[in-house]
Amino acid sequence: MSLGVVMLVHTAFDRAEQVIRHWVAGGCPVVVHVDKTVDRAENDRFRHRLSDLVDRVKFSRRHRCEWGTWGIVAASQSASELMLSSFPEVRHVYLASGSCLPLRPVRELVAYLAERPERDFIESATTKDVPWTVGGLDEERFELRFPFSWKRQRFLFDAWVEVQRALRLQRQIPGGLVPHMGSQWWCLTRETLSGILTDPNRPEYEAYFRQVWIPDESYFQTLVRLYSRQVESRSLTLSKFDFQGKPHIFYDDHLQLLRRSDCFVARKIWPHAERLYEAFLDPAEQAMKGAEPNPGKIDRIFAKAVERRTRGRPGLYMQSRLPNDNWENGFTSAPYSVFEGFSDLFEDFETWLARTTGARVHGHLFAKTGAEFEGRQKSFAGALSDSPKIRDYNARRFLTSLIWNTRGERQCFQFGPSDSQIITHDLAHDPNAQISVISGAWAVPLFQTGGDFAELRTEAARLQKIEAEHLRALRSPHAKARIRIWTMAEFVESPKDCLQEVIGEFAGTEQRRLTEAPRMVDLTGFGRFLQNLKNEGMHPYLMGDFPVERQPRPVEPVRRKRYLVR
């Protein structure tokens, strides 16, 4: 029972040498394939350095290995043939690269394989069942021809794919083969491997796979299905790929993660990761209690990295994430509430809201005179400035920054027609916005201040126009915010129910009945005020129908339940 290692090397020869010596010291013969693009002098130096191991380390015929082309398969074939013929005691052949690093003592891997003498470890899945999206070519990689290099001749590569698609050219897959794909790093038994290498149809298969896209991920993976007695469809090499199909690289700071992964071999290791090489090639390295490989934690870390690169953090705008419109995957990062007209109608609305919901309650963040942060501070979370010019210079970023900076805390703010309106459409389109409007309530402060009626009339007309515009945005089919609109007349009819409805949306307050209502301003004479506006020819309609003389019912203060001490 023995294990042989086939190693494909094209760079970082000192690291490759270290690893080769480690395998040999563990009792495994190694066949090395050096990429043909490596210059002769370098190759000779490398061979010379390993000349003391001449009977345990062999060098196979060199092929040019370019990513995605046949060369890598040819290299694995030649090296495997040499392995099988030179070392008859070898029962399993492990395909590795120069940047692979054994994480567990070699004897453990040998023992592990000895217990499973008939098993082939190779990831092999049919294309139909694997969503292999990298490059957008899954089944097509078996049906089209790929004579051009993806790295060097991208234009021709893409053009030729398009031509074949347009002409519906399709290749015949050789009889008896079902295309399978998987990681290119495998560990096969002597029987399976020699079956594949001595197959009478090999020339036909080769002719076919030479023009398949990335054959190193499909040649052995497909043919193994013809010869293997027992396929274990997973790779013993821990190798993670990012969203572009290039392998993630391991560094010194991954040491503990790799230790705990219980994997046999990891790829790819950064050649300068001194600590990793030191730790794992240490002959005194402790056994990992014979556990099964368990790369779960590493998987999660790399899956998160891919997620960050492709989806990003919703609601974040920064130097390396500035999504086009509608690609934000969330305009803001968290739900927030906008109240329009409430602070006009209630005297102590902000403090009441803060008390009732525990949320952070601001005044008019978009007030013309400056952002009214909670407590009217000069600056707020993230050092946002209250300067109106800075805010209006980029109002969208002001809002998204505010919500981002206060993650974990619900934000509420007041809004109305006397505020800067730049943000109107963004508010309406943001699913995170909960917007509650008492339309026409802006008339209440006018009514209260009194003064020159002609001026009031002009101001009322202006505000009404702005609010009408705003309401149109809220009612547009593009609006995605959760929006409630009451006319002031409706709201005043049953203010408690309305408030209950609004507050009900705050997390943790759904079940609670309001125990305390905010104090409504005295509306005596408000109907008359509206009527006067009408008489002046300015028709205030957004507040609904207010009878001229009717007294709106004041909100009854809710009687608290008595405490019962038992």
């Binding site: 700071d253 990295a305 960050r308 690169r309 989806r311 130097q319 390396s320 800075i390 900076n405």
Partner: protein, 336 residues
């Protein structure tokens, strides 16, 4: 982008390169150790004027990061900084007494040096008051980053300028040469940045931070730009267009993702606001050698004499790159 626009940008790029070529005469070599540069070396390019106190820490910081060589232009210093650098084994030094402004704030000089010595290298263009921070910089040398960028076919890496400031008056704590400036200027603004896209050059236009809220509240559009692309796998055809904010060809400016994802990015900790700053602002104002008629320095000079404290209740204290990552100022992207 139409063919016409593309052609104009091409002309502009050539113009900057020709200009760099002309301006090379203004550079007088002090020590030229460029023949020692090895093909894989990572190079820092920098211009400075009277920054002697900062230089020892600057060199140490970047040496520890794994930078191999420094190529620096001294703009007529008279504080001994030139002599100090000339004695450093990994520094090549030029001196220029010509106008900083007419060399487009040093860009022409560095464009020339990069054209001549930077081709095929990863080049990092930073001022002596800028400290580069990238994901995992506490555990991985900068070569790990450049190797990863190479493997990912990424040619340029952005690092936003993050203004650091002390708590209390800028003059309160004097800075000693060789000291880590972050011991004093350890605070920053975490989330008050405006970002716009510059459609002509494809880069971002980021403004904000303490300088905007303290000095430019009345005309925020004039606040200094914070977007920078300091780390580039240089090719002699490239040129910096305006400082390190914009590169040509414009494809190099696409260091951000437009489809919702995050690309990897870093931060330049900008430690300008130290005790020496107030005097420097006065001096620079007198020289009138800075961008947009020294508006920035004028704003500072006024601000500094009035109220030199940039700190506010919501300022964030710097801990490490992970903190900046969590705050969303930089990103690991898909580097893990």
């Amino acid at each position: 982008m139409g063919a016409w626009q593309s052609y104009r940008l091409r002309l502009q790029r050539k113009r900057w390169r020709v200009r760099a070529f002309r301006k090379r005469r203004e550079l007088k070599p002090v020590v030229n150790r460029t023949q020692e540069i090895r093909p894989s070396d990572i190079l820092v390019f920098s211009t400075f004027r009277n920054e002697y106190p900062r230089l020892p820490y600057f060199l140490k910081y970047y040496r520890d990061m794994g930078v191999d060589r420094f190529l620096m232009v001294d703009n007529d210093s008279d504080d001994g900084g030139r002599e100090y650098l000339a004695g450093q084994p990994d520094v090549s030094l030029w001196t220029a007494s010509a106008s900083y402004k007419r060399a487009r704030f040093g860009v022409d000089w560095l464009n020339w040096l990069q054209l001549k010595y930077g081709h095929g290298h990863w080049t990092l263009v930073v001022d002596p008051d800028e400290l580069f921070v990238y994901p995992f910089c506490d555990t991985r040398p900068v070569r790990a980053l450049t190797d990863w960028l190479d493997a990912s076919s990424i040619k340029s890496f952005s690092a936003m300028l993050l203004d650091m400031y002390p708590k209390g008056g800028i003059r309160d704590v004097p800075y000693a040469p060789g000291q880590d400036p972050l011991e004093i200027a350890s605070w920053f603004d975490a989330g008050n940045y405006s970002i716009y896209r510059n459609h002509r050059y494809g880069n971002l236009w980021i403004q904000g931070g303490p300088r905007m809220r303290a000095f430019f509240a009345e005309e925020p559009h004039r606040a200094p730009a914070l977007n920078k692309i300091p780390l580039v796998k240089w090719d002699r055809r490239y040129a910096y267009h305006s400082s390190t904010h914009t590169l040509l060809p414009r494809g190099l400016n696409l260091t951000y993702d437009e489809w919702g994802g995050e690309k990897a990015s870093g931060i330049l900790l900008h430690t300008k606001f130290l005790s020496s700053f107030a005097d420097k602002a006065k001096e620079e104002l007198g020289r009138g050698q800075h961008y947009a008629a020294s508006r920035e320095y004028r704003a500072y000079a006024e601000g500094v004499t009035e109220n030199p404290d940039l700190w506010c209740k919501w300022s964030e204290k710097y801990i490490n790159w992970r903190q900046l990552e969590i705050l969303g100022l930089m990103s690991k992207g898909n580097w893990a």
